[in-house]
Symmetry: C2
Subunit: 730 residues, 2 copies
Amino acid sequence: MDYVLRQGANIQPASKPAALDLQGFFAPKSLALVGATEDRSRFGGKVLHRLKHFGFNGPFYPINPSAQTVQGLPCFSSLRDLPESAEHVGIAVPTKFIFDVLDDCAATGVRFVTVFSAGFTEAGDTEGLERQSRLKAFVDKTGIRVMGPNCNGFVNFVEGLAFTSSGTVTGARSAPGNIGLVSQSGGAAQVNVMWRAQELGLNLSRQVSCGNCADLGVLDFVSYMVDDPHTDVIMVLVEDFGRGRELFEVAKRAADREKPIIVLKLGRTEAGSRAAASHTGAITGSDAVHDAVFKQCGIIRVNDCNELYERAMMFRRKKLPNGRRAAALSISGGNAAIIADLGEHLGVEWPRYADSTQAGLAKILPLHGRATNPSDVTSAVVGKPDVLRNCVDIIAADPNIDVVIPTLTFAVRSDVDQAVASIETCEKPLVLLWTGGCGDQPDFKARQLIQAGVPVYRDALACLRSVKDAMSYGEFLRARKGREVVRRPQGIDLKQAGLILRNNAGVLGERESKAFLKAYGFPVTEEYLAKAAAEAVAIYRRIRGRVALKIESKQILHKTESGAMRLGIEGAENIARAFDEVIGAARSYAPDAALDGVLVQAMAPAGAIELILGIAPDPTFGSAIMVGLGGVHVEVLRDVSFRVGPIGIDDAHSMLRELRAYRLLEGVRGQKPVDMAALCGLISRLSWLAVDFADEIDELDINPLFVYPQGQAPCVIDALVTTRQRVAAT
Amino acid sequence: MDYVLRQGANIQPASKPAALDLQGFFAPKSLALVGATEDRSRFGGKVLHRLKHFGFNGPFYPINPSAQTVQGLPCFSSLRDLPESAEHVGIAVPTKFIFDVLDDCAATGVRFVTVFSAGFTEAGDTEGLERQSRLKAFVDKTGIRVMGPNCNGFVNFVEGLAFTSSGTVTGARSAPGNIGLVSQSGGAAQVNVMWRAQELGLNLSRQVSCGNCADLGVLDFVSYMVDDPHTDVIMVLVEDFGRGRELFEVAKRAADREKPIIVLKLGRTEAGSRAAASHTGAITGSDAVHDAVFKQCGIIRVNDCNELYERAMMFRRKKLPNGRRAAALSISGGNAAIIADLGEHLGVEWPRYADSTQAGLAKILPLHGRATNPSDVTSAVVGKPDVLRNCVDIIAADPNIDVVIPTLTFAVRSDVDQAVASIETCEKPLVLLWTGGCGDQPDFKARQLIQAGVPVYRDALACLRSVKDAMSYGEFLRARKGREVVRRPQGIDLKQAGLILRNNAGVLGERESKAFLKAYGFPVTEEYLAKAAAEAVAIYRRIRGRVALKIESKQILHKTESGAMRLGIEGAENIARAFDEVIGAARSYAPDAALDGVLVQAMAPAGAIELILGIAPDPTFGSAIMVGLGGVHVEVLRDVSFRVGPIGIDDAHSMLRELRAYRLLEGVRGQKPVDMAALCGLISRLSWLAVDFADEIDELDINPLFVYPQGQAPCVIDALVTTRQRVAAT
């Protein structure tokens, strides 16, 4: 059942043209609204009202069969009666009429449709699901691109068009900014993000609320904004990306253009997923995997709506710090301490100033000894704007400093102006933290500065989080420039691997799983299947050394639990006895199981560190790979790390570094470090396997993988592969 | 050196009268300001200006030897010239004149002094330290109580007195609220907290910026507010509590009165400690220990200034949730999903509604199936305030629900009013989350509601964090009612333990440390010291079973490293050989070490879980106890938990539950749980030991402690005690 849902989420139109042109969507040559009404308390009346007051340059046609005029505009009874074809049509009619209107759209050469009306998957009933399928079929047949259903339209501040019922857009168009916003949600995005951002003084380029995403999805609009010259920062509030794999491609293009994508992903928790599902019928997918993908793609993740625009305020200036080294200065010592704490906690560094900086500061400040960073510049600078500005400029010129945060509490206007002057002229990114008001001009507020383009924060944590995210994004962009090309590893026998998989539909036992992995280039234990005790002894002699004996049966997957295994056996007699014991234990554990024999396996050398590697299915991204240390680390401490493949050696290493137990791999208490290159190579290999066999493999567990210090090859000790056929059958 | 600092922090006036009466401090019968000036750009001029405009009812005397009048008020040349004794005197004069003014205070019967002037410990130089000592000596000699130095005074909204230079108090007194604020900092507290809270619509009772705390400290003012009938919530922004042990007493009285204390503690990180030290010369102490103490005391900890008043907004109504079960309802599905996510992440529960609630909702909402929680009530309620209010009231009446969060985005005034009506009338705590504006009355804002006493949040995370903290505080208050009395454990031979400690000044070796712990009631391994091989054999025969042999020498503390130990030996011949080997290894590891003999020790039974227990010194609280699992858990994963003693069994258990590896103690993979009662008993015992020998013991390590399933006693395998004499000597 679980799988059916997941599969459902995977069944998405597989590929779209790389650069879908949505210009006609956002700024159509002509526009129509079916369901336009006089009554402004109804949806169609609201949309019409917003549209009229916001201002739209092109011809606009209200459609309503039972009115001559609506809100003072001449009204048409049907799309078929229009003097020209509408490029974009909005539909705000009762659910039962939608498909009639869509037929009219197809008949009159409409290119884009926004279906505002609800009654689709979000309803959670059969009719809703059927309606949404029918809508998809309409898109496939006609080529008309549809936003929605169950959506609240969009606002285009650039060319000028509000096509939404939202109460946040009741007046004339405000000036466009360079921040875009894409969401499935209406209210949360339009109120909590768009309106609140504008209240703060931040202007947007475009805003989209795309609802259930039957056709056009979140990624289509993000992709458009990546190409949009009017948008420099993209905020996304998303329940379900849908075609998750496309996210990699869109994010890559965004990184090429150095346009940050900031995401608030809903459905992180079970309660959130439930709420999201009842909202747009979205399947939200595993949160840990989303986290991993965002890291891989350089996407900035936030936790609440206000954080979207708080980050955007930092990013919209397109000045990124060259490193993590920050400086702050304040006339309030308490603020210096708060900033120091929060910054260090987030991973911001506060380096010592260079000697030249100290010398410069000593000339203008009454310093006792060296200035610390963050700097308490004391009240010596209050009301002496030239001193404040000089301090900021001296610190900003320090070669050890990547970003400066002048911090004001209560300030006179001239202090604020001088801090802003430094911010505006400096090559480096500077942000103003202004926690209080303006002493001599109480009406002068942060909002005016923000509207003028200055990044101004009122709270230290929001400020430092934004600074830290800008540092991380800068690091991401720099790292990807020198980054390895992720290449398919050598030594993969794809044909053989595929053969093993297809010959063993369902679950692959230990021996078959390891044979599969071996064909894929993984080192595995030497092992052979014995059908009789004598054969076990012969194998033992061939292997030379102590062996393990394990039952081989498709019906006994949990060998430890069954007791049908013996470890570290030597001597012919003991081997023979162990063979009989294993068979005996298997029979009493599962009397009806078909026993294929006993696997006789070379014991791996001692001194290994045990890891667990795996592939897990994911509803959004197809599958994800996982790594963790064996024993308590995965099972009790849940200390694991995810990625979506394929990944290279660098990514594999960063995946390991995320583990809390990473230091164990580096060697503690005098132990040698493990062969990190070999381990990362296997992780990369696994990530390719996950991609190559995405359609065949549901889950794969390597448990344990033994890794050793350099010079000793790692070894797969046990493994289990579950294919999709098996899952589909249950 | 490190210790000298710590000791310095400990040297504080040890005990004060339990209820220090500061009424004369906050509302003196008469007030004087030495250093009052005409010039409003100077400190004394600012203080005078604030005071005049804020309004003070009693007689006020500006003092300035070189002026006849200041700011229109008659001026006196000295305190000695006043017609009456000033109950409270503020000093804002250059540092060199301070002590002359203080002499005048002593001569004229002044009770309280606020020293605004700087130039003390915060300067970081010898003169500053000396000045602060001299100020303390003045207090001890005269009994005059002093706030400061290096402080920015206080604001009393209740009786009406602003005695501060802060630019946040330039007009007439605003109405008093029931929220108090104590800080060392001036700017951060007065601007980031007080002014910002007022900007939001929250009024304060009193605000104090007590600076370096040479005499009156943060805890004195918190203590006063605990008793103050005008204060119901206490916000604290603190760098150093000073006499940390008093915090327990003050917090206990606050809990008795159900007055929450909300703390922003500076100096959490190294950078923050550095910045705090340069601000008020404070030593900030270990952050993990502060965290533990706050948990023990029910103190709510926050991370940034705005979070102080955001929490206070929730608490000032004095309605606490009876549990963690919340409900939320919104017309925005996106908001419902965001709230669900953030709440679950914080530990808020979203239970299913009772059948009666479902039935009630079904009558007024167009529901498909059951309503989820958080509830997306769709736009059916928009503009129908009776429906919204009915929904809120039905949900609030649900017996499964402890707190309700009606959530509005853009709303018409009548919607807001109806939500507020529910909040005002409901017995349970309800909070409004209102992310947008007022559709029909754009000037109607959250501020008006907050001023009227309604808790209104604009962001989901701030809202849910406040709700969660209220839940936790309610839990804390309920738990302490039924809580065990923390009693001294049985079986402590204090005399014997003290004797061992004093006979072994410096470091106690393994044998002495274990003898000390045994006298304190800890089960330890059976062991005896052998001076010769034959004696070792005799001991082995007495112990019966395998033994360990370990070198005993004050000069060899790291036995594993020295190689001078053998484990699990049996047979007389092997014992004798092992004895010689241990002596040999010790001699080659440390040729000059004095060898006391070889410790022959019973091997503990197999199957133990290893723990590490310890006592670490703390600059604020004297010492703290620590517990963690042995091996990688403490050493690599830093998975440890702290408390300040004495604690009982319940606290010991909660300490263990904080460990990420706690499940290992409960038994995983079919293992039996450890004897939790025995383990918690030992932790409690250790916490008493830490208190009893606070002056003698610097550090104590029990590493490892073996614990077993019920029926098998735990056992101290190795231990090491470092006394303060040893530390003082290095």
